[in-house]
Symmetry: C2
Subunit: 327 residues, 2 copies
């Protein structure tokens, strides 16, 4: 199996991306093609590596409008890497760069799965009961009830095929738990989800996200993106507050040294890099989104997730479920 890795995407590119590719090569044994600035990658790779390099001259940055950038920058690393999958040279692509650009490149070159109205971005959310799936976490700022129903199905396939969950529960993210609560979108979506062949447990509230008592949480991309960014912001805020407090007096510093491993465990609990990456859902190929702040371990885990998607026939499962052939 060959995985194409966008070496230039993410806050820590290309150093951590290259390091992650090396880890994955050693630990997982996949063939890997790194796409990006050849000279910089050569400097980072050992001379005897069998990781392949594909040179790409351009980079799409986080602040660029994805549709425009993907069209204009034909030689951007994310575009070239996605094309390797399109051409059948690689079986999956991994990137920690602009999610919008990755989605756009996937839509242009891999296409949508027939029947999927809107692809979605899923996120693995850290909870007290392990990682759970939240989607859409930002692909569609405006969604309709029928889109959310498809998100629910795609999220379940991801949970089953990639995360190994059995008969995952589905919840509709809402501002009240009772049927009839919410805005027009959630009220209508609730009625549709009730009648789908899903393990639908009804509305879930934001506190359920952190408790982790639902496997797949569905919402529109605006809300999902707010949730994702707020959780990250709050996590950072709190960990900084802890750091500030526990270094503010001599006595605290001694105590802090004693509890430091415990504090690190909490940080780890919220650490996205543990979970690797999540696939774009609804596109006709495996494209794994790794967190923008990915380090080598996160990239390795994202490459691992790519391998699981390929091995478990994730895309084929989505297609067959949509045709009603699968549960």
């Amino acid at each position: 199996m060959r995985i194409a890795v966008d070496a230039m995407g993410g806050d820590n590119a290309p150093e951590e991306i290259v390091a992650g590719a090396l880890l994955a090569r050693n630990e997982l044994g996949y063939d890997i093609t790194l796409v990006g600035d050849e000279q910089r990658m050569r400097e980072l790779l050992p001379s005897d590596t069998d990781i392949e390099i594909r040179h790409a001259t351009e980079i799409i940055h986080m602040d660029e409008a994805p549709a425009v950038a993907v069209r204009r920058k034909k030689d951007a690393s994310i575009v070239v890497a996605t094309k390797l999958v399109k051409d059948g040279y690689a079986e999956a692509i991994v990137s920690a760069g602009s999610t919008g650009a990755q989605m756009t490149a996937a839509l242009f070159d891999l296409g949508r799965i027939k029947g999927i109205k809107r692809p979605a971005i899923s996120t693995l959310f850290p909870t007290a009961k392990g990682p759970k799936v939240l989607l859409d976490s930002g692909a569609n700022a405006d969604s309709k009830p029928e889109n959310l129903v498809q998100f629910a199905h795609m999220g379940c396939i991801y949970a089953e095929k990639v995360l190994g969950m059995e008969n995952p529960t589905v919840g509709l993210l809402n501002i009240g738990s009772e049927e009839g609560k919410g805005n027009e979108l959630t009220v209508e979506t609730y009625q549709l989800l009730k009648n789908e062949s899903l393990n639908f447990i009804g509305n879930v509230e934001p506190r359920d996200i952190t408790i982790g008592n639902v496997d797949v949480m569905v919402c529109d991309g605006f809300v999902g993106n707010i949730v994702l960014k707020l959780a990250e912001g709050l996590g950072t805020f709190l960990m900084n507050a802890i750091k500030d407090q526990l270094t503010s007096t001599y006595r605290y510093k001694i105590g802090a040294a004693m509890v430091a491993p415990g504090i690190r465990n909490i940080k780890k609990l919220m650490d996205y890099s543990e979970y690797g990456g999540a696939p774009l859902l609804g596109v006709d190929g495996v494209s794994i989104i790794s967190h923008g702040s990915s380090d080598a371990k996160a990239i390795k885990n994202a490459i691992k997730a790519a391998g699981v998607c390929v091995n478990n026939g994730f895309v084929a499962s989505t297609k067959s479920r949509l045709r009603g052939e699968d549960k």
Copy 2:
């Protein structure tokens, strides 16, 4: 000044509500009318108190549909307390009970301020730079751009008149910082806000909420409610994780004892009770929402906020600003 206090609303009613009323009576000197179960309140109050009791036989619970409950339970504590303001007997009402019921009672009995299309609920959000205003935090699950513009103005009046902020900055809560980002609602609202006489700083992202670099954050009630509940859920999740970790080994326990005051400071940072309550915005009278988990101190602070609203002519300011007579 007389403040009517709903003694039966909130997780800790009536004990903490009565205790908070006593604190407020002693520290602030306001006349107070406690509304609720007379016998229970008598048991909680000292015999020589000059706090007035108004008996009410019913309670509206958190899980009741507000519109139905307010209509049916004419003798519910929140309904009776709001009527005291309507009748001019009290100048403000404070409750820690069902926010929906409080809003409904206010709309029925105090009415909307003329020109306000939708009232809003504001929340004081804990940030690294002190409490900031988030609205709408749940009154309107579906909102239009013109509603959000009114929310912005009402939030500013609250920030100025009650919180004492000068020329507060206004941000539109969004999933990207650039103009043009977001969903249909935020894209359209941005264009309207640009042309208002507001200190509008553009889109703000969820991480800005925790950083605290904007004074008034505007969003629709669905998103605001999600933000509020997620922040509370995550805060609880993290504080529990810290507690679990730091009591898991003997060594940690010793360290934890040394840093305990620091951890308590962090908890305090996220503690809503510090901030008291926030007024319902857009209703023609002062109705202060206190957090559902309010303790005595939170109730005292909510009563204090009620006093500030009355003294600073908060409702009159809203009216005059809407008529364009004010800034």
